[in-house]
Symmetry: D3
Subunit: 323 residues, 6 copies
Amino acid sequence: MAKKTFVATLSPGDAVDDEFVLAEKTVLQKRDGHQYLNVVLADRSGQIKGVVWDNVRSIAAVAEAGDFIRITGSVSEYRGTPQLVIKTMTAVAADRVSPEDFLPATELDVDQLFERLVNLTGTFTTPWLARLLAAFWQDEAFVAAFKKAPAAKRMHHAYLGGLLVHCLSMAILADKLAAHYNGLDRDLLIAGAILHDVGKLREFDYATAIDYSDEGRLLSHIVIGLEMLDEKLRQIPDVPRDQANLLKHMIVSHHGEPAFGALEPPKTVEAVVLHYIDDLDSKINAVREFMAKEDPDQAWTSFHRLLGRHFYRGTPEATPSKA
Amino acid sequence: MAKKTFVATLSPGDAVDDEFVLAEKTVLQKRDGHQYLNVVLADRSGQIKGVVWDNVRSIAAVAEAGDFIRITGSVSEYRGTPQLVIKTMTAVAADRVSPEDFLPATELDVDQLFERLVNLTGTFTTPWLARLLAAFWQDEAFVAAFKKAPAAKRMHHAYLGGLLVHCLSMAILADKLAAHYNGLDRDLLIAGAILHDVGKLREFDYATAIDYSDEGRLLSHIVIGLEMLDEKLRQIPDVPRDQANLLKHMIVSHHGEPAFGALEPPKTVEAVVLHYIDDLDSKINAVREFMAKEDPDQAWTSFHRLLGRHFYRGTPEATPSKA
Amino acid sequence: MAKKTFVATLSPGDAVDDEFVLAEKTVLQKRDGHQYLNVVLADRSGQIKGVVWDNVRSIAAVAEAGDFIRITGSVSEYRGTPQLVIKTMTAVAADRVSPEDFLPATELDVDQLFERLVNLTGTFTTPWLARLLAAFWQDEAFVAAFKKAPAAKRMHHAYLGGLLVHCLSMAILADKLAAHYNGLDRDLLIAGAILHDVGKLREFDYATAIDYSDEGRLLSHIVIGLEMLDEKLRQIPDVPRDQANLLKHMIVSHHGEPAFGALEPPKTVEAVVLHYIDDLDSKINAVREFMAKEDPDQAWTSFHRLLGRHFYRGTPEATPSKA
Amino acid sequence: MAKKTFVATLSPGDAVDDEFVLAEKTVLQKRDGHQYLNVVLADRSGQIKGVVWDNVRSIAAVAEAGDFIRITGSVSEYRGTPQLVIKTMTAVAADRVSPEDFLPATELDVDQLFERLVNLTGTFTTPWLARLLAAFWQDEAFVAAFKKAPAAKRMHHAYLGGLLVHCLSMAILADKLAAHYNGLDRDLLIAGAILHDVGKLREFDYATAIDYSDEGRLLSHIVIGLEMLDEKLRQIPDVPRDQANLLKHMIVSHHGEPAFGALEPPKTVEAVVLHYIDDLDSKINAVREFMAKEDPDQAWTSFHRLLGRHFYRGTPEATPSKA
Amino acid sequence: MAKKTFVATLSPGDAVDDEFVLAEKTVLQKRDGHQYLNVVLADRSGQIKGVVWDNVRSIAAVAEAGDFIRITGSVSEYRGTPQLVIKTMTAVAADRVSPEDFLPATELDVDQLFERLVNLTGTFTTPWLARLLAAFWQDEAFVAAFKKAPAAKRMHHAYLGGLLVHCLSMAILADKLAAHYNGLDRDLLIAGAILHDVGKLREFDYATAIDYSDEGRLLSHIVIGLEMLDEKLRQIPDVPRDQANLLKHMIVSHHGEPAFGALEPPKTVEAVVLHYIDDLDSKINAVREFMAKEDPDQAWTSFHRLLGRHFYRGTPEATPSKA
Amino acid sequence: MAKKTFVATLSPGDAVDDEFVLAEKTVLQKRDGHQYLNVVLADRSGQIKGVVWDNVRSIAAVAEAGDFIRITGSVSEYRGTPQLVIKTMTAVAADRVSPEDFLPATELDVDQLFERLVNLTGTFTTPWLARLLAAFWQDEAFVAAFKKAPAAKRMHHAYLGGLLVHCLSMAILADKLAAHYNGLDRDLLIAGAILHDVGKLREFDYATAIDYSDEGRLLSHIVIGLEMLDEKLRQIPDVPRDQANLLKHMIVSHHGEPAFGALEPPKTVEAVVLHYIDDLDSKINAVREFMAKEDPDQAWTSFHRLLGRHFYRGTPEATPSKA
């Protein structure tokens, strides 16, 4: 049955009868001994908190965090935000829902994007890097996850396919910069652009909602990515160890500074370039996605908390006429 | 007469008879009432301190800071650094020296670089920006200075012609990025790349040595550049004021953050992009110039104080074979 | 008709029929295709959000942001803050309202304050500075704006006339300090005190509400102030350029440190002093205005978020008896 | 016998036979077992390192750190700085030297300065504060030390009498500001100006050289000053405890921010004002003393490391003509 | 009468008739001239805001901040948080309530904890330290307060008895570390562990609610603790002054860095160790108390704002089996 | 032949004929085309720069960086520091020198230290951790390196065996704290203490001098340590993956904060404790090693640049008498 209501549009007073992901589930107890159930429901438009006051035990047994459910209830308000008061909850089989209703996804064709990436690595002239990327591309489980993973939980490319969109854009920029500045190792730079965030395949869970995995919170995508790279490197013969360390260094240093998560600052020209194109591509994307969500008739966006400013789109007259 | 000795190669014990720029000159007095003269001499290889113990008044009258001089004397050492003990000093007419001996300069052909820039702005489709750049290009004094100015006193592009080299590289990158990301105002971005540092023409003195001017120290190249831009804008009819503010904003914000000298953070997508390509081009240049000065047989450079790290060039075997 | 209700005193459940400034206006669309109108209404006591559910198109056409309007409706609550649900909206001509109802203003007589400032600059003995200030005082549009502009949107002197109050207080302090420390250039210091924030006349819009202008957000009051100063300097003959740079430097550096918006740190004794009296006068004013808003029976104010502390007014017994 | 040579003017090669303070003394041992003596000698012009190679034990027994001595020897150079190689050392009785040769001191008349301070506190109308200051003024040992103490080891007012110069200047400023801003507790503010740094009487040793005392390094002048204040408060009857805490708070908070040594930020208007006039008076003094040491013919000073900038004195023409 | 309702469990719609502490009381006035009363009510479970609309004067006269009261009313919601609308308020005598209902307290036996501390100081071999601690232990008012004081208002050990729990834990750790690292002054280290936070006895008010005292906000527990220590030191004969300064230094420096409230950084090995065990014991306690409040079935806690992370408790299977 | 001279005791004028490590070697060229050789020589007492002016090619061919050499020459001074002017250089076989002359080493018996560590892990009750540590202990190459590696290049435990000394001290502290705080996973905490720095075995080269390896500079000991741990984990059956992640998390987070190199902050209680004991043990060691190098007769050490303070050892009288 087609999903009709989305959490972003729920207002106090609305009655609800629709499918959601059960993102979080916590049984709590009042001081008087009665139990109640706090939940977070999600779909592709966002998240909403909910509460179950009655039949707590039987309803809590219906589903686990990550499952699809159908609920009935109504929207009230608690501490200034809308909250669902849930009457009934039933499990919904994963094969009965349209996945695209529950997680935002890129509108681009990920298979086409991926093919462009494969074509790019097909031009590599450094044997061990060509073999390495081939090993990744031949790993079907990897490729499936690489086409699906988001690049972030928030801020930029925070949707299914986002990691691929981001890495392809960076790989193309890497190629252009390798042509602009002489002396850069083009293959190494492109390989770094493709693999620098590869740990995000496991740093995030994105089966039914985008969130950090246990492993992601404990180890970070840097460490997970290095493990994934090491696993592939062990399968390839004759990898020059010092070269492999240069590639690992790009993963280690791509955040630029220790305070932002770089264990070492970039120490090769290629690592310096990689850091900039990563920062540039993430920031451009973050700003444009933020602008896209706001009222198109206003010259200024609202205040972006993390970036600490309003952004300017200009007035209609201000638009440059290129004709 | 051809200059034979350069300050970078002077060692304690050397006798000196050659031409230099008198970079600084200070008459000081000992407690016993005797005067002596402290000077700084410069040529394209660097600077050295010097002292005059005898005939202080007559020697001090020979030249002012910024003049060319010929000295005789010998190198001693004071507080751990080489110091010239100067016996005689005579003035040298500016037209008798080879300017290239006294200031480092790009090895590229600045006329060719400049022509590429003019060609690029020749493709502008935004009328007022086309007129603005034309106004700059028709100002002969401006063009002469623009071909000569350094981009910095230290760190990156710190040589005659350095500003042009830097701005051309950025303008080309701006063109590439305007093609890579859709929706960017190409003309505005390229104009920003060319004009963002234009205040450096007056922030620095670079007639006989590269140093900050009074105006540069009091106002910064940001403010000077805005004055220069305002002067040209007053000469052009029909400049849309809100558009002009977007160009000024790129000068105001190109350092990215207030702590690094941005009065406002970049608030348009074009200003965000400009900040990144400025930072990228400066940093790549700084790293490569630093590497170029160091022993080519060592895998690691010495420690770069400002960037806080050693850089890695790799061992000969580590060089990727592209064949 | 006299305004009776002010946004600061509206509580959920109140019915409203009164005049306000339409501070912001945004048409939004639900996923079901229906449009609604989000507005922000303002008067001298503050701002309140409002929403229009019906007749959206016709009501949206009534007025633009910045216009005076009369609305009827009632106060509800959304996400924890009061919100106006608006039934009707009609335009009100600007000449039919009492401006003092809509923007907070100093209770002091701005004409008297201004006269004191004119008297002070009348004592200048530096010819070009005397001519410069005279040029400003003879510019009627400037003087009108200078008497009306606020010094800030929040924090200190955030009301009509606030800039004049602040600049006069600083000019008097400048005069006192020029007497206290010998060797200070009194005229330069007082001129700096008067002109350091002059860009705020255009950084803010304060016709019907105090907010940043486009120009203010893109360029900052520092750059706008320098433009305004340059414009006047071009009208005066025989300005010594190095002296003018010292005055500009005071505008450039008055925030003290780059992280707080100083392009250069204060590099003259006068600029150092100006920075301190600016900081002192702003802070004293901020603290006292904050104290004045709080319960006079409490020894401590509530927590001041920006200044990071509670302030102490002391208990009645603690009040020093000066008799 | 009059001192003729001062450490600031010693150059390699000079022979020395004169009196100094033995500022530090350390017996060290080479790996071959031989002992040598490292010393630091001081006079009002600065400090110089020295070494004794022969007769180490007998020479080391001549005097302790802080004693006056006469040495013979010659100036050599070690690791880039001048160093005295000492041949002989004899003790000199303290009553045989001219104290002003050994420590820099204000050129102002400290008795006159002190009298102005006493006159100012004579106008107090708050009984307990009048009694408190009287108690300090009646403590002869305190007054003697207060007239002698420096305000710092370096940076500003770093000479005998410097603390009094600084406190008097601040007390006068406090008086002026209490007249400028209404509602300030004038007596409290002036008392804070006089007593805020009182712990420096014990934080520093300044008998024969200015250095930190053990107590100063372990406790800081804030804590020592509070102890000194507490001692006096115990002697005065009927001090209102909450009032006394406001005075203590001014000592506790006068550095403004925790990172600069304020245990609490200023939480009363008087404490806010005190912080600013302390910062202002210290900074003005630091800048002017720095300027005074530099070549008067140069427009710019050398780089001030702590304040992070060159200071501008302007060119002769730039001097404002007040006539 | 036993207290039945606690503020942490109040929800909009609840009727209330129970006892609370009147934590804050403020009479405010609407623009229409009517007064109303804002209050904060507290018990051991937390705080809630309340408002009185009618009979404001007579109800405001019933009690002062810090008194016990009984109220009737109902819970509504204002700006997103629950708020009590109070109908009636009556005073309740302090001897009629169960104190443990109003302030959280340790579940440990404070008399036993205190006895362990006394036993530990009974092993001191440094005479003056043994005498000093004895002087504290013989001061009955001190001991009563020391057993009752909290260690903080929030974050860690924020309950009655918390200071004693914290100091005993630290004293035991001090003892262990004095055994682990040789050369540490065991008695000094343990004394520092016990006395470092002694000023918190007066920094906080904790008669009916935990909050900062006036003195605490103006002077900080560091300064108050030094005053308390000085008072005891004056009662003990033959205290070696330099030794006492080492103990004071531990109070002065125990926060480690100026930015966190250390007037001086730790300069003795004992002060360095004290800083670490203070930080360790506070942080462990903070983390564990935070974990204890959260849903035990979840692997991760919610986000801890001050510590900037989620904490991991692991899944049931993850629990190490020690059997 | 026994080494007699050590670089720390060389003074200008000394003749030298002894063995050193050739720590660095760089051939440079003057502008006149002549080559010279810059070297750094090292032994256990430190490092000294040297220069070869003649026979540059043949001497440069004698040895590579890291080799033992014998040189003859004399000590001069360059830019304020001693410099060896080298006449002859001959290679020395590694088996002809006494290694302890060239690198500082702990005076403790590393075999005994290691045995204590093995005994401690022998008490583990968590099967997979017992197996993991056993796997490390059975790896002879690992154990040999673990007994030899330094914990740092400078600051603390910067000598052969230093890593073992540091890890054993931490493991014992971990054991004590697991007994002090209940609920800690003792085995996990001790394992973390032993393995947190294991990457330092490869981060440093310490065959003939302590310096960073290429791998160390590119990847950091965190990443190298995780690789080493992963290699051992692959050899052990039935490792619970979530448990292994908790151990890896301790390596990832032990620096505490991102700015200090923690990819994630400590998120388990054990990781929090590990961070503190690492910081405590490093700092105590750093302070004590610094104190040990200084004049024992002085109450205060010289200024410690990294820790930003002088340390106090107290005067002889200040030493607590424990008798």
